[in-house]
Symmetry: none
Subunit: 364 residues, 2 copies
Amino acid sequence: MKRTKTEGTPLPLNQILLGDCVEIMNRMPEASVDLIFADPPYNLQLRGDLHRPDNSKVDAVDDHWDRFDTFAAYDRFTHDWMKAARRVLKPNGAIWVIGSYHNIFRVGAALQDQGYWILNDVVWRKSNPMPNFRGKRLTNAHETLIWASKSEGAKYTFNYEAVKAMNDDVQMRSDWVIPICTGHERLKDATGAKAHPTQKPEALLHRVLVATTNPGDVVLDPFFGTGTTGAVAKRLGRDFIGIDREAAYAEVAEKRIANVRKANSEVLEVTKGKRAEPRVPFGQLVERGMLQPGEVLFSPRNKTAKVRADGTLIASDCKGSIHQVGAAMEGAPSCNGWTYWSYRRDGIMVPIDVLRQQIRAEMK
Amino acid sequence: MKRTKTEGTPLPLNQILLGDCVEIMNRMPEASVDLIFADPPYNLQLRGDLHRPDNSKVDAVDDHWDRFDTFAAYDRFTHDWMKAARRVLKPNGAIWVIGSYHNIFRVGAALQDQGYWILNDVVWRKSNPMPNFRGKRLTNAHETLIWASKSEGAKYTFNYEAVKAMNDDVQMRSDWVIPICTGHERLKDATGAKAHPTQKPEALLHRVLVATTNPGDVVLDPFFGTGTTGAVAKRLGRDFIGIDREAAYAEVAEKRIANVRKANSEVLEVTKGKRAEPRVPFGQLVERGMLQPGEVLFSPRNKTAKVRADGTLIASDCKGSIHQVGAAMEGAPSCNGWTYWSYRRDGIMVPIDVLRQQIRAEMK
DNA sequence: AGTTTGGGTGAATCCGAAG
DNA sequence: CCTTCGGATTCACCCAAAC
């Protein structure tokens, strides 16, 4: 069993724990988990049967674990698991919860009431939803996920560049088009019936985990079901902890995850932003003689400033760092001096950022 | 002034009432309104300023009416207007409320707590949202509407065939793609500044009213603003009642609605949704398991690259998008990665573009 | 007269390491 | 805890002006 450094208590990594998730989480060490993905019962409140136009019966979610007598009972249930989840979450950890209009408003309000800080609500737009057979409402074609940090101001993980890369190099939006889980991905029991009524597509978890975790992170799923979270976590080189009350689900999940192979760690490495690059002080360029004291730098609009020996700039009416002088030149609140200034070599203008690239290349 | 049959009290139809919506609704006869459309303050809780990468400042919603000290204060506000709204609603009436993740969960929970019965939550997917300028979260590209009847079992209005016809004769889904309100539709004040910070597009109200009201119905908007609800209601031959606390907004709304003419035909404009083939990010193939992280792609001349978990490629000497790596392989300025790369299945090479065709077929 | 280019802007909970 | 400051960060669409 893998152990983490937090506390003396071992974390049961890459296992499925059978039982009530509140009790189990309360026995876990606090602040030990990087991400929680929760797919709690939706409290669907279905009355009676539903039949398709061809009279076939819709296989509805009528399991005992989805029945609550009142909204108050559902709220108590929500409060309890969410509080236990918050305890085991690291200070900079985050949570995802998925739901439908039956429960998601109560879930979202509970998150806010408990001090979680909502980062985005995300719409899972189903490309192939079940139609509304009676024509009495709009086709319920989406579910909602809430992404929240443990508290306001926490330094949550967000692989901005990676999800931007996944989306053809434009920012990932809050609406995700993903098919529902069908076909060979949908797990069946011995009789051929679906093993779990609300199995989530792996594509959904893939995006969640790539966006908001790093390889080696610990992902906890307190309503593990057939283990989609665990399967995707394993493939992506994350550790998981699964909890479920139903032994039948856990059994299916265990087999499923055993068949998953972890991807090569080289391909799990994800596109990093410039923030991950080491900081290079401008003064180094002068120290190294890449720029001379007294050398003139040019702005895009041909304003000039002179390089001083300490790596600051001096212009006609101001002096300071490359950023400060650039901002002053433009009357702007801030300025990236690296991309703003150029110097002249053999008659052509060269951005000073080229020099920073050289230094960074040497550092590798 | 038009009168309704309910009670002896006249309904102030097609007027804008200035003042607090709770007081005004409480003076109205009960059970007298067919539909309520509410666009309450969102309680955005914005902190400091935000600048775009070009250093221009974002014109944020910082109006006094959007400031609440605590969630509890916002909940009281919500409870009060929602209760007054429920009283004036006919037994078979319905309500729409729009919001963002800042407030919609509290709104939805309040609706349920007061006995409203949620029929659908609807996602307004903005085709042109404001980006996330700092790259710290997902682009907030949608808002949420909740559609609820006055109580469970009520016989609400839903024009199933009409909205189906609006949607190319397939069932209308719960996610609606509509542009934000800009251009000539966006109302400006004398100085050219926007007359209201959160004006909603008429296309949104058009769909709401066509779907859930009949001609001659009474539509109440307790947060009338610049009167989008009134303008669309008038055009569609519905009566409206608008309430707002701000005289400046009411003045703009009055002029606006005076210029609207009631449509004589039932010609329903269709929301513009041209767009050629939808763009499919390569990362989706990985998410969906059509390609595995680590899988090898082949160029026409049998060079290879590996797929990474975020949908980028890694080759011996470079990494990036399918297009970037393809271009680097060929020493070309650009490259269409979709037609350049193939993968191997059962011994034969298949262009990855085949997979894109599959996804596009699903999206229809 | 068309076409291209450049500027403006939209309900936004939008930085973080170093000292 | 604070303050300071380096420097990273944007998409779709409309409109006006230039060509």
